[in-house]
């Protein structure tokens, strides 16, 4: 056989070495680039965490809430539930793809519908998670240097001394003759106004701390040996609040975070928000495909490959969540 014949076979066209359609390969191409984007964000999170390794919030102390269970310390159960929802909707997606291979329109319809529902439940759960995080629970005081002072007391639990946090609103002595009121543009310079004032000023909290002997201040620094946050003695608690406290903060936003470093909240909002945006677009694309299935577009095409392609995207969103779950909640 001459080389010309071999070359003709290899390079003559109609040769599919990867045995995948153009659309599927482009989906993989997109997934690789999107995976690099997400790892860029997660690596940046890791960078900041390593930079402030001795003062990073401990996730099980931040995300301890579960819907309808108030005052119950339930770390991780809620995210575990969210993870399960997303994996479950991945399963219904892959079942839809499988039914598509058998050209079974009815089954594809049902499974696509369930996938969309799963995605919507996940988005709702994430909205609840954000809401709880933004609202906060106990409140804390930010210092001049941007550190966080939290309040609590030692209580006996199973024969051990455990630090339990106390909400600022439960002990602060509210000064009813406050002079400081929110500046509104109608009462002063018209082009200047300010947002809502914090619920308490530091002086009120200090008075409350003085009045309650049992309350101590906890810093956001981690004790290397025990892995817990460092709690100050009574004297140091009073001193730390008096000398350094500047601002009462409750909950978390892009500027302040009652649980510790504001950077933690920034990354949390950005990365879970970016992932949530992916879930949202996934749900929308899934709905479009669902209606296409319903209208019989793929039935006439005799190929459900479109379901397979959105399936790839949907699984990728699940894959990213697995990593977000690990790096924000577990590690």
């Amino acid at each position: 056989m001459s080389t010309a014949v071999v070359e003709g076979k290899t390079w003559g066209g109609a040769n599919e070495p990867l045995k995948a359609s153009y659309g599927k390969m482009m989906m993989w191409f997109f997934i690789v680039s999107d995976a690099l984007t997400f790892s860029g964000f997660l690596a940046a999170y890791g960078f900041s965490r390593f930079k402030f390794i001795d003062a990073w919030p401990i996730a099980d102390e931040v995300f301890t809430h579960f819907p309808f269970l108030h005052g119950v310390n339930a770390p991780m159960y809620y995210v575990a539930f969210m993870t399960f929802i997303l994996i479950m909707s991945s399963v219904t997606m892959v079942l839809a793809v499988d039914a598509g291979h058998h050209l079974n329109k009815g089954k594809v319809t049902i499974y696509m519908f369930l996938t969309v529902i799963g995605g919507i439940i996940f988005l709702g759960s994430q909205a609840w998670e954000w809401n709880t995080f933004i609202k906060g629970e106990y409140g804390a005081v930010q210092t001049k240097g941007g550190n966080i002072l939290q309040f609590g007391e030692y209580v006996e639990q199973d024969g051990e001394q455990v630090f339990k946090r106390i909400a600022v609103k439960d002990f602060a002595v509210v000064d009813t003759h406050k002079e400081r009121t929110a500046h509104e543009s109608k009462n002063g310079i018209w082009f200047q106004s300010e947002g809502a004032l914090p619920a308490f000023d530091v002086n009120e909290i200090y008075k409350g701390l003085e009045a309650h002997e049992n309350i101590l201040v906890r810093t956001h620094y981690i004790d290397e040996e025990t892995g817990d946050k460092i709690v100050l003695s009574r004297d140091h608690s009073l001193k730390a609040l008096k000398n350094n406290g500047t601002l009462y903060v409750e909950g978390a936003n892009l500027h302040v975070n009652e649980y510790g470093a504001p950077l933690f909240a920034d990354f949390f909002f950005f990365i879970t928000g970016f992932h949530g945006f992916h879930v949202l677009s996934g749900v929308i694309i899934n709905i479009i495909i669902f209606f296409n299935v319903l209208l019989g577009t793929y039935e006439r095409r005799k190929s459900y490959e479109m379901v397979e392609k959105v399936g790839l995207y949907w699984h990728f969103v699940d894959l990213v969540w697995v990593f977000v779950f690990t790096f924000f909640y577990l590690v």
Partner: protein
Amino acid sequence: MAHEHKLEIFKGLVKFKSNTAKIWGVLIFLSLVTIVEVILGIIKPEILMGYVLGMKALNWIFIILTIVKAYYITWDFMHMRDETPGLRRAVVWIGIGLIVYLIFILLQEGGYIFRVYDTGYIKRDF
């Protein structure tokens, strides 16, 4: 093409009768891994709190379990198992290579900056 599925997982240890059975099997496996992660995260066993290669042993376990989950999601849900080796390598090795490099470089730098802060802005004390 895509209609033929490889039905064994765990290097052929478990072989499923149909693709649907394999999907449910993988779901059970992924759920088990997640449950193990959550239990470990809540009780935090004392033995696993020691440091291995600069990180707590428990954190290494979490990361390894995460990669295991990622493997089964990619291989079975995204059907990577059924793709040609060329496509598989092009996607997986390019991704892993770049991501590992990025993570190494950023974590290394983060640790360095922490140490500079920690020692009062002294980079090297001779």
